[in-house]
Amino acid sequence: MMYQISEWKSARVFLSSVMATVLLIGPVLFAPEPGSDGEGVAWAGKFDKGGGGKAEKRGGGGKMTMPQKSKIDRKPRASSAKQGSMKKASKERPGAQQQAKARPQAKPQAMAKSQAKPQQRTSDSPRDQPFTRKADGKPQQQAKASGSRENLAARDQKMPKQTSTQQVAKKPDTSRLQGGQDRQTQRADRDKQVKEGRQQYAANKQDIRSDRKKAAEELQQNRFDHQDEAREDRQDWADQSREDRQKHQRQMANERRDLYEDIYDDRRYWGNNDYYWDDDDDDDNNGWLWGIGGAVIGGVAGYAIGAAVNEPPEGTVAVPVGGVPYQYYGGAFYEPAPSGTGYVTTAAPVGAQVEAPPIDCTIVFGPEDEGYCYFQGAFFIYDDSANQYVVVEPPAGTSVTYLPPGYEEVTVADTKYMKLGGTYYRPYYEGDAVTYVVSEV
């Protein structure tokens, strides 16, 4: 018996040793070689030596395999050294650079926001009206969108009551007659309330504040993805108008972030209970913080049209369009799955009105210099009268830096287009990048 036990022990020790060895050596034996799978690309191996015919060798007879794309090269830049030209650097004037340095405060104070936004939105310059629909421009789009608004209004009466979040988000009165002044007053009042709420809330729950900060940082970080590639690729020595564009883009990005903060402030402080702090608040109720982060990640990185989910992320808003009860969050639209169970992500439906544009959208300019928030093939424009962002038909002449998966390549009159949904995009070389321009075919 003793012998048997000791034999069993030996066998166990032996087996353990074998397993440990496999665990230790396995990863070494089966580790991918550097450069074998998109990792650690060996520069030297990628170049042909000896002059000519390189293009042909590169082409290799057909489409190249797409290399791993940089994930951060779409992030908005404050500056870049990519030009690397001594001649041009010696011609640059310090003054011009200083101007570029004077960018807006990353996170304006609540009162500053309430003053800044209406001012921008009532400016005459289209450049000063981020995503704002022009009254005299693009009549067909406006007609479509306003038509859809009417439809929406009619449907809203039939539809069951929206979430309280949406009720809160909707302003008490968005009538044109009230004008910008009323909205400014409302916003100022609301900001004041938010501020007071924050103070009181912070007095009770200091730790929430640190969570908020962390969540805001996450939001900001997420926002950096999927940004404007074309603008990044523009020349460093470009003229003042480009500088203005970049400055304006930052301004709009900041405004977009402010808008998000406003909205999520609303949700946090008024939340589902219509008041802005809760003494019974506990850690579980802070789920919204991480919900935003998760939803944004889900709405951006994992947003593939047609993907099925059991249910949309927490905090989605009902956005009915054409009788379809879409759910919207973080730029992604969800519609009930045809199977009747769960949801599928879908392309943004034209006519949809949302309170917040996708946080990671790219700012693009239409033919009349109107600004759109572009995200995954959808164009959002701010509708001042409704204080909402409306999904419109892709405006012809607008250039975007990427297309979501799902387009097909078509040739019309010897010209190549990418067809996405019903929209034709024509590829161009613009600056250092290939861009896609909405075209009428």
Partner: protein
């Protein structure tokens, strides 16, 4: 009284030149820095052809202030006055620029798309044309017929820093300052002086981004194959057009 009038007149005569004096800093470049840089530039300028490899890193400064360093790797073959080939690979994509004296091609290998336009008859004019189209050509100084234009027009200060170690040997280390940036240049002396490294710090740009290029495989007698500067589109490549900046819809309708 006459003395007073003379003084006033003299003062008035002195004022306009003072008012017109430019506020730019005087050029202060020590002789050794000038000499070493001029020799390297003269070598480039006089070379009828050359090839070189540039291993480049440069910073982007994000809005948050975070600095990102990107890499770019260029092989350059130049045959004056009207042939140029740049084979580039970078974190942001791969690209060829091919110029044969008549046609300029920019080929985006990742998307298998290329642009082809009629080109001017010199490399200098073609570089200007690329700039017009918004295509950046790093280290265009090397390709220019006047590689040291910046040294004569723009440099405010220049110093010889001594012989410093670089990739296995001691080379001349030069420091220059222009209005918006600082340059450091490492030059290998000898019979055929060459620039081995360039570091540009954009002093006036937010976050002071840097551009660094290490230059190797200098060859002033490159073997250039027939057809080295001609572009044959790979199978399935799509020809597209340049789109001028701020173009609005026009021409987007077939």
């Amino acid at each position: 009284m006459r003395d007073l009038r003379g003084i006033v007149t003299g003062a008035l005569l002195l004022i306009p030149p003072l008012l017109c004096t430019e506020t730019t800093s005087p050029r202060v470049v020590d002789a050794e820095a000038d000499r070493v840089m001029e020799r390297a530039c003269a070598q480039l300028e006089s070379a009828p052809a050359f090839s070189v490899t540039a291993d480049i890193s440069y910073d982007d400064v994000l809005e948050s202030g975070l600095k990102v360093q990107y890499r770019r790797y260029n092989e350059l073959v130049l045959d004056r006055p009207d042939h140029l080939f740049i084979d580039g690979e970078s974190d942001k994509g791969s690209r060829n620029i091919v110029y044969d004296g008549k046609t300029l091609t920019v080929f985006n290998r990742d998307k298998n798309m290329y642009v082809q336009v009629p080109a001017p008859d010199t490399i200098d004019a073609t570089l200007d044309k690329l700039e017009e189209y918004g295509v950046s050509v790093p280290l265009d100084d090397l390709m220019s017929s006047q590689p040291c234009a910046w040294l004569h027009d723009g440099v405010q200060e220049g110093f010889y820093g001594g012989r410093h170690y670089l990739d296995g040997s001691f080379v001349h280390h030069l420091l220059f300052r222009v209005a918006a940036a600082d340059f450091q240049v490492w030059v290998q002396g000898g019979e055929v002086p060459v620039i081995r490294k360039v570091l540009i710090e954009y002093r006036e740009k937010e976050g002071n981004p840097r551009y660094e290029a290490r230059l190797s495989d200098w060859n002033f007698r490159p073997t250039i194959d027939a057809g080295a500067f001609s572009f044959t589109p790979p199978e399935g490549a799509d020809r597209i057009d340049f789109r001028a900046a701020n173009k609005t819809g026009e021409g987007d309708r077939p």
